[in-house]
Assembly symmetry: C2
Homo-oligomer: 225 residues x 2
DNA sequence: TCCAAATAAATTGGATCCAATCGTAGCTAT
DNA sequence: ATAGCTACGATTGGATCCAATTTATTTGGA
């Protein structure tokens, strides 16, 4: 029994993201509670969290359903996170970057460059790249010790991943993804340099561009947690 | 008895924003439930919502407390909303603006111009200006029928207002606020023109600048609802 | 045959009860 | 006197019960 409520939220979120509950499907409290082996109360709390996160949506007056995201919606959500991370980077640069974070970001960039250095890119490379970008993301978030921007990012972090798989139409787009990876790598390097030089405006501009590299962004910039 | 749960959330949020519960003050379920005349259950749900919104924060392992915002935090949150509204405006322009929304935005601009047309600006003018800007904001949000950006904005909408009053140090800054009002008016006009001409990049740039006119932004751009 | 109204079933919201856990205060022993 | 342990109070989390509302089904009439 994963009686901790945050575990229930995580389990439910995973089921939604994994497609166990289809987009648009209505979610009743009793079946979910029975499926998780708990009472209705923690499920109601979890539903409230997920509704607030935007993964569940009210249909009619009382019912809740899994929110449906179109590919355009996913792109919007990705851009939301993009501009928020851009803003976070700018504010971080404005208030001064601590040396430790600077090192972490530098390492992320070096490792990322090593991964996408060659022309060919395997599935494993994409995984490694995602991991590096997750660390980059985590460093950005951790550096905001006041948690204002970090929370704003976190509040919109999971949205793109509800139906992220549904936008991967055909596997042959891998080559195009490779191109985008190189673009993202370039952007990260430029952003880091701008951060080191304290060029805040340039940081923000670059992060904005970074957010617009396309739908594959969600594969390049996995959320931490 | 405002037994609807959303009413309880609203009442609680109002109490927090009004300072009835001081920042940093711990909130227990039973006293709040008794104060609102309801049982613990709806209060727990409301606490979950408010925690998710960022108005409440966990202290220790189980306790919840009113989140404390420094003036810098408020400014960060305002900038968050600024870039999100800028993004929304850009995406709206990209996908095409429906004529009805166009009219609403146009009316908002004309009324706003009439309000800040003169040199002097009374308290009533500030209130009217806030109302016009709320309509502008609402039009932006309503136009996003897919609700992706609108929800992202809504999720970060209330944050700046938790301790907004605490950043209004002295009343003599009204003159400076007047100047900012004129700046905001100018920006709205430029944004609308860019929207009409489909200059999406310019829209975003302008809205970004709009978000940076200063701390008084929260007085100029009140959230709806 | 189709629509509407009424009734029944299902589901949600709220209240209360019980258990588990956290914090604190008091007591004891060194 | 202080440090550590214990026990009690307070508070949160979970389960169950009850009421209210919504939705579906059935039956009646047009």
């Amino acid at each position: 029994m994963t009686s901790d409520n945050s575990s229930i939220v995580a389990a439910l979120r995973k089921r939604i993201i994994d497609g166990h509950y289809a987009p648009g499907e209505r979610l009743a409290e009793i079946p979910v509670a029975e499926a998780l082996g708990v009472s209705r109360t923690p499920v109601r709390l979890a539903f409230r969290t997920l509704e607030q996160e935007g993964l569940l949506q009210r249909v009619g007056k009382r019912a809740l359903a899994v929110r449906v995201f179109s590919p355009a919606d996913v792109q919007c959500a990705i851009e939301v996170r993009g501009v928020l991370e851009g803003l976070a980077a700018r504010l971080l640069a404005e208030r001064g970057l601590d040396p430790k974070t600077r090192v972490v970001l530098h390492d992320c960039l070096r490792e990322g460059e090593a991964i996408v250095g060659g022309e060919q890119l395997s599935e494993a490379d994409i995984g490694a790249w995602s991991e590096v970008n997750a660390r980059f993301h985590a460093a950005i978030v951790d550096a905001d010790e006041r948690r204002v921007i970090a929370d704003a990012i976190a509040r919109n972090n999971h949205l793109p991943f509800a139906s992220a798989d549904s936008i991967i139409i055909d596997r042959s787009e891998l080559e195009q993804a490779h191109q985008r990876l190189r673009m993202a790598q370039l952007h990260h390097r430029l952003v880091f340099n701008a951060l080191e030089n304290g060029e805040a405006a340039r940081v923000e501009m670059l992060m904005r561009e970074h957010a617009q590299i396309g739908l594959r962004y969600d594969k390049l910039f996995k959320p931490v947690e």
